[in-house]
């Protein structure tokens, strides 16, 4: 069997998710022994042409040029895995989907006439078929390794689509919502981080986006009784996974 090739691509994003790959200090060199890293600009100037067995895609689509580029990448890729909230849900920049882009541009740029950008920030899956979506802002290192190993050996990645609460309890943490009255989005948020925030006595703020079938309306009264105001609640759902949470909330309404 020839060595499988891995490519890493970037769209609108912070680089954090691809950095996660370089943060696999213990595994990086052995990974490099298992796969040929054929395209990873953040790490290498040696670029090899496609096709690639596995492509990791970071970032969201925010320009027409990028919408074109992702199609090429899809065509060159065996498995295409999106990494992170940007690529999977449009990221924080998807807030523009709910606002006026021209106005945003004028806030940031002195000469907004130079700026040409799509009115939306959309996930990769809105443009091309995706084989696997890895959640998180940023993704979790262990989950990234799990997905890579699973694809290398042909296994189904063990990435449970359940609540952060299940991880919180498995870790033996005390619920911050019940014991401290701290608002927490854990019950509606996709597992994967290992309940990082509750471990720091903080409520989850949903950076992994909603789990499937999240019952968001049922959580709202509890958030209110933990002292959140209506606009606080609206904002906490409208951050790193704004588009995904608002889709999930719509499903609950419908």
């Amino acid at each position: 069997m020839s060595t499988p090739t891995l490519a890493v691509w970037k769209f609108a994003s912070c680089d954090g998710c691809q950095l996660t790959l370089l943060d696999c200090e213990d595994e990086l060199l052995s990974l490099a022994g298992q796969v040929r890293i054929a395209h990873f600009l953040e790490a290498s100037s040696a670029v090899q042409p496609g096709p690639y067995d596995v492509s990791l895609v970071e970032g969201s689509i925010t320009t027409s040029g990028d919408a074109e580029r992702i199609r090429h990448i899809r065509a060159e890729s065996g498995k295409l895995v999106t990494i992170g909230a940007c690529a999977t849900a449009g990221g924080i920049q998807a807030l523009r989907n709910f606002g006026d882009v021209a106005e945003y541009a004028s806030i940031v740029y002195a000469s907004p006439q130079y700026i040409d950008t799509l009115a939306t920030s959309t996930p990769i899956s809105a443009h091309v078929p995706v084989d696997f979506e890895l959640r998180g802002c940023p993704i979790d290192r262990r989950q990234l390794l799990e997905v890579l190993t699973a694809f290398l050996v042909g296994r189904k990645p063990d990435i449970p689509d359940t609540s952060v609460c299940t991880e919180c309890k498995r870790r033996g943490l005390t619920c911050v919502m019940v014991a401290d009255g701290t608002p927490c989005l854990g019950p509606v948020t996709h597992a994967g981080c290992g309940a990082l925030c509750p471990a720091q006595s903080r409520g989850c703020y949903g950076c992994f986006g909603p789990m499937s079938g999240a019952n968001i309306p049922a959580l709202l009264p509890q958030l209110r009784s933990c002292g959140m105001r209506e606009d606080d609640i609206n904002r906490i759902f409208a951050t790193f996974n704004v588009a995904a949470f608002s889709d999930e909330a719509e499903k609950d309404q419908g």
Partner: protein, 284 residues
């Protein structure tokens, strides 16, 4: 206490797979193969028809797979027919002779062909549902004289999707076995009956009280067939079907396979049709 011997301890580690070698691999259909497996260490206990094994593909995972071999032989061969639908089954499907896979089992309840002696039998299989029922047919044929009329009805989506095609033809050629093959939709080169297994079931006559039915296939197929047989006078306790639920352990430890009061891996997979009210409840 820790004085337990290591062997005894491993005995009580029921989640540890036992290595088996793929001795022989038969391609059945475009997505199904039959694997003949021989033990590399102490063989697992003998099986009864309808029981299953947890089959492990190295590093990929486990799947519950029925045993399809002949219950009347005394060798230690384990036969499985596997349809590739996901990661584990695809990996098992792709193994080659010589490869080593892991087995745990046999687990679960069985089709009690001994108690069915002196009865007429009707065996109804849909798709891979024929895999466990092959053991029933082979077991019955090994003691054919003990049974009354034996009817085998097998449905598949297309002619190319019948398992054990050669064997089915040889069974069909026997005078002591009525074999009815049917496919879902008309297909070129097929001059047999077209329709679901319920068609022949509907057409044929069965003596309620004298007949025992063994069913395996998709759940709706089993429900319709069983209901038809009840309508034809069979008692629910004479209709035996094999259920399928998510299984992680196969030994009543993991909780995944619950169907109301039943742990399908332990109280099933083979159950009688008194299970009907449970099957009717949505999302149970």
């Amino acid at each position: 206490m820790s004085t337990e011997s290591a062997a005894a301890a491993v005995e009580s580690e029921p989640m540890v797979p036992r290595p088996y070698r793929v001795a022989h691999r038969v391609v059945e259909t475009h997505d199904s193969v039959t694997l003949h497996l021989t033990p590399l260490s102490t063989p697992l206990p003998r099986f009864r028809p309808g029981q299953f094994m947890m089959v492990y593909a190295h590093g990929i995972g486990e799947a519950a797979i029925s045993i399809s071999g002949d219950p009347s032989t005394q060798d230690n061969l384990v036969i499985h027919t596997i349809r590739a639908v996901g990661a584990v089954t695809a990996a098992l499907h792709d193994t080659r002779p010589g490869a080593v896979i892991g087995l745990r089992g046999p687990y679960g309840t069985s089709w009690d062909i001994e108690s069915a002696a002196r009865h007429d039998l009707v065996v109804v299989a849909g798709g891979v549902g024929l895999a466990p029922l092959r053991s029933v047919v082979l077991g019955v044929l090994a003691a054919r004289e003990c049974y009354g009329r034996v009817t085998l009805i097998v449905g598949a989506r297309t002619p190319a999707e019948f398992l054990y095609r050669g064997e089915l033809d040889s069974w069909a050629a026997r005078s002591d076995l009525d074999v009815e093959l049917t496919i879902d939709q008309p297909a070129a080169g097929w001059d047999g009956p077209v329709g679901f297994v319920t068609e022949p079931l509907h057409r044929l006559h069965f003596d309620g009280g004298r007949t025992i039915a063994f069913l395996c296939g998709p759940e709706p197929m089993m429900r319709f067939s069983a209901q038809l047989l009840v309508d034809k006078g069979l008692a629910p306790t004479d209709i035996w079907l094999s259920l399928e639920r998510n299984m992680k352990c196969g030994i009543a430890l993991c909780g995944h396979c619950q169907l109301g009061p039943l742990l399908v891996c332990r109280d099933g997979p083979v159950v009688d049709y008194r299970v009907a009210p449970l099957l009717r409840i949505k999302e149970l």
